[in-house]
């Protein structure tokens, strides 16, 4: 498993990462989501030891990840701003990477067909989507133990995204690969991630299994007869509330059952329904709690 412990980093006077903790299990797809510039890419670069942390440490399978350590050979990073060497075709880049990884030729050929990619086309002449597919194909063919995908599906069409997820899920299932994926497309991550870390301003605000996170943060709608002061509900961990007409919509971390009991006891409850919450809604709620997007 990957364990990032109290990772902190300053760029000059600017604190980019503040005591970041990440725990991703073997065979898990971990979604790293956060506001723009919150430090997701910086975390990836620390995991790959491109940057050196000021404080904290990183472990993978119990082994400390340090600059030039052997364990890095089991990591593969696909960055958000893709780079391919000048005039390289996918086949040539495959040959080059073969000198560093045990690339699977079979997997490579299979994925080329699956994504319908021309291996003899110069990579820099490919479209943005094709480039992402090419980088993804290479990363899967390398068969790493830890795969870091930085905004890999952002800007891709739905069909390609689906293909990406199919391949990724199969790889994780077959090889127990750990995948850390960052994206702004939270709906996509909602469908694929086992665990999610929500970042804001260099901190991990929340890290949880997605299902657990959805259980922890609930949204209910209810209607009451007579007046109601939302302050009454402060003991139920209310994160947000809105009133639409006579219906209150509340996001809370406390017990939904206790809330219902309380409302029935203190008011005449006309309506009480649980609403499902997407990752995107959880994300907005968490970041809203941290003041993001609430600036005047």
């Amino acid at each position: 498993m990957l364990r990032v412990n109290n990772l902190s980093k300053k760029f000059g006077d600017f604190q980019v990462l503040k005591n970041v903790n990440i725990n991703a299990e073997k065979g898990q797809i971990y979604g790293l989501v956060g506001s723009n510039g919150c430090g997701k890419t910086t975390i990836f670069k620390h995991i790959m030891q491109i940057y050196r942390q000021d404080e904290g440490y990183i472990d993978f399978d119990g082994e400390r990840v340090e600059k030039n350590s052997e364990i890095l050979k089991d990591f593969y990073y696909v960055q958000d701003t893709l780079y391919f060497p000048y005039q390289y075709t996918l086949e040539k880049l495959f040959s080059y990477e073969k000198l560093m990884y045990h690339m699977s030729e079979e997997k490579f050929e299979y994925l080329l067909k699956y994504f319908d990619l021309d291996k003899n086309k110069v990579l820099n002449k490919m479209s943005k989507g094709q480039k992402k597919q090419a980088a993804f194909v290479l990363s899967i063919a390398a068969g790493p133990k830890l795969l870091l995908l930085d905004e890999i599906v952002d800007g891709l069409d739905a069909v390609i995204k689906r293909k990406f997820w199919d391949v990724l899920i199969k790889e994780v299932m077959d090889n127990r690969m750990t995948v850390i994926i960052s994206s702004h497309d939270l709906k996509e991550l909602d469908n694929i991630c086992d665990k999610v870390g929500i970042m804001h301003e260099g901190r991990i605000l929340k890290e949880e299994n997605l299902e657990k996170m959805k259980e922890d943060i609930k949204r209910v709608q209810f209607a009451l007869e007579g007046d109601f002061d939302p302050e009454e509900l402060k003991d139920f961990g209310i994160l947000q509330y809105v009133k639409i007409g006579s219906v209150y919509i509340v996001t809370l971390t406390g017990s939904m059952e206790d809330l219902e009991k309380y409302l029935r006891k203190t008011h005449k409850l006309l309506l009480f329904d649980r609403l499902s919450m997407s990752l995107e809604e959880i994300f907005i709620t968490e970041l809203g709690g941290a003041g993001y997007g609430k600036e005047k």
Partner: protein, 576 residues
């Protein structure tokens, strides 16, 4: 995944990737060093030298291109995310470029041999090879230190020239010293420093162009390369890839800024050391250094707002520079009034020719590689260097007089000079060389008396005449030679009126020279012995006598020219 040791496969891959460069370089070198000179039937050596220049350019560009991945975030992230440590990646680039350089060297050698160029040109390879090896390593080092490829190129040149920049800064200190401590010359100190302490000819291997490779060469080259290599390893380990900007190491940034900001004031101070007063020179130098530092820092940091740490570094550096300069001046001041005991001196010179003293130094130290005796050398260079105790005593006395007063009398009939050079080669092997800036004065004063009296003694001494007019006074030289004199009148300068055997006028000339008396202008005469007789040259009176030795009918060796004025009564009477 299994672990792979991938150095060799990656190296072979990297060398294969050079095939386009190899092809291009082959075409460039062959076209410019073979084809063009063949078509033009031109000087092949020039084109070979041009080919060598191209080779430098190709190697330099290749090194910078290969390490340019350090200066682009996406590229850097790509390569750094691969299981190839930065040190290994740069090592592969260095080995690849070394192979590329060897290939280019072979191309140049093929051109040399195909064109049958004088093999002397190959001597330069003894210097070129260390330069190329240093450039390969320095460009990698500079790329690691820089955050921009163009800056890496500039820093490669800076680092390569760093020993020269340090020398310039030292010269800056010497140029200040020469204004503060009487008798100390920046040029003399520079010559001493460069010859005995800061041996740049070894460091840059320039001395080996005309010299065979020795043990020093074989030891120094690996030492220099290992030193650069160790620096490279150290900075690779310490490089922070998140740092952006033209230079990614703060320490190195300030190092460059401080040294670079001294280049302009140093050049100014050195060039104007004799024409500008020390006070104004120091003020201007300080202003230029501050301005240069600000511009350099603003450029490197890409901001017109200078940081507090930059100001601190500048202030500390300038204080340090002032302390070093002050210390050097303080040290030199202790020797300001030093005049050696005549008994301790082996050879002494008094005149105005600092270059001649340096030249004598070279000869005595065996650096000028001339196969002749010191006596012959002195004759050939018209140098008068005394080894007799009386003359040496006179020179030390004259030296003391100059220390007391730095003016001298010059009659309007003479050209003035600003320099009095005194040099002692001591018996213990050390040297004392002083260069005094003197003020010529048209009015004779009491302070000039002592100098003229001692100079007069020197000029009338047999030792002086034996060296100055060796073809007359040195029996050892005169005997058995065919010496002649061509006589011209000063108003018919282009026509030789008579060509006579020197024997005819030797005794007359000696008699006239023995009678020469310079009186109040003796010191000026001592300084100006090679340019005297302005009145004759301008009045077009008297004779010009050219003394020469006829070695054979075709081979004539000119020894001296004498302007014979009214003081040469006996000779002019004879010639008339």
């Amino acid at each position: 995944m299994e672990k792979k040791n991938n150095f060799m496969p990656l190296l072979i891959y990297s060398i294969k990737e050079k095939k386009n460069w190899l092809l291009l370089s082959t075409v460039i070198i062959f076209v410019t060093t073979l084809l063009i000179p063949y078509i033009l039937r031109a000087d092949t050596e020039f084109f070979i030298m041009f080919g060598i220049f191209e080779m430098f350019a190709l190697v330099f560009i290749n090194c910078l291109v290969d390490d340019s991945f350090l200066h682009n975030e996406a590229k850097l992230t790509y390569y750094m995310s691969k299981p190839v440590p930065l040190g290994r990646k740069i090592g592969i680039n260095i080995v690849t470029n070394t192979v590329f350089t060897l290939y280019l060297l072979v191309l140049i050698l093929v051109s040399v041999f195909l064109q049958d160029v004088d093999n002397e040109i190959l001597k330069v390879f003894k210097m070129l090879i260390p330069w190329l090896m240093a450039i390969i390593l320095l460009s990698s080092l500079s790329s690691v230190l820089s955050g921009n490829t163009l800056m890496a190129g500039a820093m490669t040149i800076f680092n390569f020239c760093l020993p020269l920049i340090i020398l310039l800064v030292i010269m800056f200190i010497f140029s200040i010293l020469e204004n503060v401590v009487t008798g100390f010359s920046a040029n003399v100190l520079y010559d001493y420093f460069i010859r005995n302490i800061y041996k740049l000819d070894y460091l840059y291997f320039t001395r080996y162009v005309d010299k065979s490779i020795d043990l020093v060469y074989l030891l120094l080259l690996p030492i220099i390369l290992i030193f650069i290599g160790l620096l490279l390893i150290r900075f690779i380990k310490r490089r922070k890839n998140e740092n952006t900007g033209f230079i990614v190491f703060d320490g190195y940034k300030y190092f460059v800024a401080v040294f670079a900001c001294l280049i302009i004031p140093a050049s100014f101070s050195i060039n104007f050391s004799r024409s500008t007063g020390i006070g104004s020179r120091l003020v201007i130098s300080a202003l230029l250094a501050t301005l240069s530092y600000y511009i350099i820092i603003a450029f490197i940091e890409k901001s017109f707002r200078i940081s507090k740490s930059s100001i601190k570094v500048f202030v500390v550096s300038m204080v340090l520079f002032a302390l070093i300069t002050g210390g050097t001046v303080g040290l030199a001041s202790q020797y300001e009034n030093l005049v050696p005991r005549p008994e301790d001196v082996e050879l002494a010179y008094a005149g105005n020719q600092i270059w001649a003293v340096n030249s004598a130094e070279d000869f005595l130290e065996g650096r000028s590689y001339q196969d002749m005796s010191f006596k012959e050398w002195k004759r050939n260079h018209s140098m008068i260097i005394y080894d007799d105790i009386d003359s040496i005593r006179d020179i030390t006395d004259l030296h003391r007089e100059v220390l007391k007063d730095q003016t001298y009398y010059v009659s309007p009939d003479y050209y003035g000079t600003g320099s009095f050079v005194v040099a002692y080669w001591m018996k213990d092997g050390s040297r004392i060389i002083r260069d005094y800036r003197l003020t010529p004065e048209a009015e004779f004063r009491k302070e000039h008396e002592g100098k003229n009296e001692i100079a007069g003694k020197l000029l009338s001494s047999y030792e002086y005449k034996k060296q100055r007019y060796y073809y007359l006074y040195d029996e050892g030289y005169y005997g058995g030679r065919n010496l002649y004199a061509k006589v011209r009148t000063m108003n018919g300068y282009n026509t030789v009126i008579e060509e006579i055997d020197l024997k005819e006028i030797r005794d007359l000339l000696k008699k006239d020279i023995d009678n020469l008396y310079f009186g109040n202008t003796s010191f000026a005469e001592l300084l100006m012995s090679y340019m005297r007789s302005k009145p004759i040259a301008e009045s077009k009176q008297g004779y010009l006598v050219e003394i020469y030795e006829k070695i054979s009918d075709e081979d004539i060796n000119y020894l001296d020219e004498l302007y014979l004025n009214e003081n040469f009564t006996n000779t002019t009477e004879y010639l008339r």
